[in-house]
């Protein structure tokens, strides 16, 4: 039975088509959910794609978190369902309080679209299970606000509990502790700044993104089987 993935888009999201194409290519069934929806159609995995929800006006994700669909996302997360926010989706999850911390302007004060290397900090999560511990993945980043910040005690707790999933090998944006991706304490809500959907085809530069999506689908499938 294939995994049912819901891709939630807001006005101004722009990576939803790419995520859909890649997830379908990996065998998932994809439903697209508009921001005004109040349910997620019984999905196993929720993906919040990249883009500029509501133009990123005020702060990225600040307005999107009030969309009706976010209550459904929060409910899905609270019941243990898998949620992954990519780039702008990560920003939305932080603003919504589903993930700790915030994403600030890049330290270099410029937008960065670049291939980077990220190291798997914890390979024992639903996002990273297909990768080995410490494995270096080649993924693109594409953001102006990817500079992760969180208070010191939360960071300490996250590190202790292995909630940092991905770290930049060469910190491109000033992120605290070179953090590129995290998950919540329960281990079912993920946020990452790199775009795995852009790294699922060697012709475009890398196939490493498929490891991350594949891991999520495996985990979702596990839940489906249960």
């Amino acid at each position: 039975m294939s995994v049912r993935a819901a891709i939630v888009s807001f006005p101004g999201s722009n990576c939803e088509q790419d995520c859909e194409r890649v997830l379908r290519g990996l065998g998932a069934e994809v439903v697209r959910v508009w921001h005004d929806a109040t349910d997620l159609g019984g999905c196993d995995l929720v993906v919040l794609p990249g883009g500029f929800a509501h133009g990123d006006y005020l702060r990225p994700g600040a307005i999107a978190r009030f969309s009706p669909v976010m209550q459904a996302v929060a409910d899905h997360a609270a019941s243990g369902g898998l949620v992954a926010g990519i780039c702008n989706g990560f920003q939305v999850l932080c603003e919504a309080g589903l993930l700790p911390g915030a994403l600030r302007r890049n330290a270099g004060l410029r937008f960065i679209c670049r291939w980077v290397e990220v190291r798997v900090d914890n390979a024992d999560t639903a996002l990273t299970a297909r990768a080995g511990p410490g494995q270096v993945l080649r993924l693109p980043i594409n953001h102006f606000e990817g500079n992760y910040h969180v208070d010191a005690s939360t960071l300490e707790a996250m590190r202790r509990r292995g909630r940092v999933t991905l770290r930049y090998v060469d910190n491109p944006n000033g992120s605290l502790d070179a953090i590129a991706g995290i998950c919540n304490d329960a281990g079912n809500v993920f946020g990452l700044m790199p775009h795995p959907e852009r790294a699922c085809d060697p012709l475009l530069g890398s196939g490493d993104g498929a490891l991350l999506f594949g891991s999520l689908l495996d985990a979702a499938r596990g839940r489906v089987a249960v």
């Binding site: 915030a102 600030r104 270099g108």
Partner: protein
């Protein structure tokens, strides 16, 4: 009554402000020496109906907590006129 509110949103004390630092570093090149503590924030103005100034302030502070500022990285200050 109708009130005008100004909301200053600033990076929290102690949080790096690269934009402020860049401006601070570029000012001496233009001949402005001795400048320190440059910080860059946002100014939001709005008008609202409220019974009195205190009520207006309370509503705007609510807005700040809900939307206008992100408490993880930002502080805010409200003034009502």
């Amino acid at each position: 009554m109708r009130f005008a509110a100004r909301v200053e949103v600033m990076p929290k004390a102690g949080i790096a402000d690269p934009e402020g630092q860049t401006i601070e570093r570029s000012l001496p090149a233009l001949g402005y020496d001795g400048v320190a503590a440059v910080r860059v924030g946002k100014l939001i103005t709005l008008e609202l109906e409220a019974d009195d100034a205190d009520a207006a302030r309370a509503r705007v502070e609510d807005m700040c907590r809900a939307l206008l500022a992100n408490p993880v990285i930002e502080d805010y200050r409200v003034s009502i006129a």
